[in-house]
């Protein structure tokens, strides 16, 4: 038996013994998602046990080095871990912006001390993070952000910044323990005047307010900073070089958005719609045309993943995938609403699971806006793939 085969058997056996049956069921609602953090309320004992078992082995972040709380798996081993989990339907033990976003930034730009400290907390699910990027005045033009950290030298309580400003679209800011935040630390330099700061959400002066969307409640918040003191060492990368960290993360985020979400999001819908009856030939025609595009895009997703795995994909291809995938998804929900007729209009009924069709339809309108608008995606394609002038 090869090393990898032996590894697979070990993982399979460990999962059989340690993954509770409740954790092998599909995630059905928000409470099923384990975000960790200081204030997290576990839904049940199984959710807690599953997290603790994985933490003990570093399986919340299997490919991170052991020193930082991971299991030190090689890519091949991590693949086996994912396959074995998928095999029994095991859900991820921990969902975390710390894992998905801050972690990669720290791994690339953090000091050894920061990696051990922060990554460890993330891996153990002890600290829940949120992301402070966009501002009311700085969305697509993120680098124009204005939240300002004034440099204060204080020999007594330590050098620090005093941060004033506001962030918007901060997911789960009202539930997070710490924030990684882009703060302007030099007003005279647009691109090299931003720092990537880390601070506790309980620091005096930090307040949050949830944002209600047209689709109903959302995890998004406005976050306000009123003379918030951030110690000088709580920075990733160099002072005024935070934009480099942000750019790295944005590329990483787009890769994740385009690589993730297979299956349902990519699927054709005609057959599903027809199950409830389809006697409208023009709607049927629209569904058929949509299905052609959906099935073609499914092939594109498969091709993109295949190419990305061997380094053949253009580095800017994730922008095309995000653009095409989100526009397709909006179209999908427009057709589903049309097919659902008046029933799909219901906002709070049991037969629509609390207005799921209508809420989903509205929520998807944000897909082409969040994580980089479709227009920005097209700009990037024009500039970096097509090499058009002045792009």
């Amino acid at each position: 038996m090869s090393d990898l085969e032996g590894f697979r058997q070990d993982i399979r056996a460990w999962l059989a013994a340690n993954c509770p049956p409740e954790m092998r069921e599909p995630v059905r609602d928000e409470a099923d998602v384990c975000w960790g953090g200081r204030n997290f309320s576990f839904k049940n004992a199984a959710q807690k046990a599953w997290l603790e078992a994985c933490v003990a082995k570093g399986y919340t972040v299997p490919d991170w080095p052991v020193a930082y709380g991971g299991a030190g798996m090689t890519p091949a081993q991590a693949k086996i871990w994912r396959e074995e989990c998928a095999r029994i339907g095991a859900r991820p033990p921990l969902s975390s912006f710390g894992i998905w976003m801050l972690g990669p930034a720290l791994l690339k730009f953090g000091t050894e001390e920061q990696k051990v400290h922060y990554l460890g907390q993330i891996a153990r699910g002890e600290i829940r993070w949120c992301q402070g990027y966009s501002e009311p005045g700085s969305g697509s033009d993120l680098v124009s952000l204005q939240t300002y950290g004034e440099t204060v030298s204080d020999p007594v309580s330590g050098d620090h910044w005093v941060v004033n400003g506001q962030k918007i679209w901060t997911s789960y800011a009202d539930k997070a323990d710490w924030i990684f935040c882009l703060v302007r630390t030099d007003k005279t330099n647009k691109y090299q005047g931003i720092s990537f700061l880390l601070f506790d959400m309980t620091t005096p002066g930090v307040t949050t307010r949830p944002i209600k969307l047209i689709s109903g409640n959302s995890p998004f918040c406005e976050t306000f900073f009123d003379n918030v003191k951030v110690p000088r060492h709580q920075i990733v990368g160099e002072v005024n070089r935070g934009w480099d960290v942000a750019k790295y993360l944005l590329g990483h985020e787009r890769e994740m958005i385009s690589g993730a979400g297979g299956g349902d999001r990519l699927s054709a819908i005609g057959a599903v719609v027809a199950r409830n009856g389809l006697d409208d030939p023009l709607l049927r025609a629209d569904l058929a045309m949509f299905d052609v595009d959906a099935l073609a895009f499914a092939a594109m997703s498969e091709k993109f993943l295949d190419e990305a795995k061997v380094g053949r994909a253009h580095p800017a291809q994730p922008n095309m995938m995000k653009y095409a995938g989100t526009e397709l998804n909006k179209r999908r929900h427009e057709l589903l609403m049309a097919a659902g007729g008046a029933t799909a209009l219901e906002w709070e009924s049991e037969r629509t699971s609390g207005g799921t069709p209508a809420r989903s339809w509205l929520r998807t309108k944000a897909n082409s806006i969040e994580g980089g608008t479709s227009e920005v995606m097209l700009n990037v394609i024009a500039k970096r793939i097509l090499d058009l002038p002045g792009a």
């Binding site: 005609g270 049927r284 569904l287 099935l295 091709k303 095409a324 024009a382 058009l388 002045g390």
Partner: protein
Amino acid sequence: MPLYHTDDQAMLADTVTGFMADEGAIKQQLRHFRDANCQDGFGHALWKQFAEMGLTGMLAAESDGGLGMGHVEAGIVLREIGRNLTPSPFLTTSVMGVTALSGGSDDLRGRWLPGVIAGESVLAVAIDEGPRHRPESIALRAERAGNGFRLQGRKTFVVQGASADAIVVAARTSGGDSDRDGVTLFAVPRDADGIAHENVRLVDSAMASTVTFDNVVLDGDCVIGDVDGGRALLDKVLAAGRVGAAAELTGVGQGAFALTTGYLKTRKQFGKLIGEFQALQHRAAQLYAELEIADAAVIKAQQLLDGGSEKAELMTSVAKAKAAMACNLAVREGVQMHGGVGMTDEYDIGLYMKRDRSLAEFMGDRYYHAERVARLSGY
């Protein structure tokens, strides 16, 4: 199987790309034969070169002297044919014709394949009977006559039909016009008595014939495969033609796109290169996305077909429909973005628009295939 070419396929692509850019170029082939009013619709010298390169017998079995390759490889050739708008009998002969003959007896294959492989003969395919592609209905009759058959009826849109050495004809030997069963494929030699051609030049300069069969008597050995059992083989021929046309369409689309982005980077107005205008940048980026997606659908369909997957049928229709839509967008945007010169015969972009239109109709347009996707998906 990953949705990109193997090393061998990539090497083939390199070779064919260079070859077709040199020998299959628009000026040398399409414009030359169009302006000379060549009635065959393609250059024989280039067909010979195809034979020398081993391309003519790509899909024929190795035991028949071919290369035993599949639709991915044939698609590589077709893409370059498309990119260069090269008039060629490759799709009807080496892809559809060879696929038809693969269902025939040793004797039949031995009669036609050597000439095809040598670059000396070409094959045409006669399926459609009206202005729209409806292979579900086959009305041309083949009635028993002695040891053979007598063909009576008419076929339309037979590309290069008048210059073909043999025509693969889908005929009805029993049952009603719309029956699935009762169809037989015949390999009809060009010199059979009773064949009349109405050879017409199409918008893309291709030559297509409306072929009338008036009591055309054929020996029994002209039957390809089993009498009355030809529907399955016809389906294979159609699939090969559809996925092949889809591949050619991706080439046409890429060719048009390259011309267009080239123009955006060179044409100046209002003191700047027009490629700096964001509206055009966005349209070009949208087009890029559509063409990439079409490429993926095509290679997926090619691989499924080569692998004999039951999913091939659905994906073949997805590929033909998507490639048609993406290419169509590319040529319409292409002419528009070229402005006035896009309307001239001197510039090539209009030639791409014309080829797209022709290929759109070949073996089922986007409406036909979207309908097929719906039906195959159960609605």
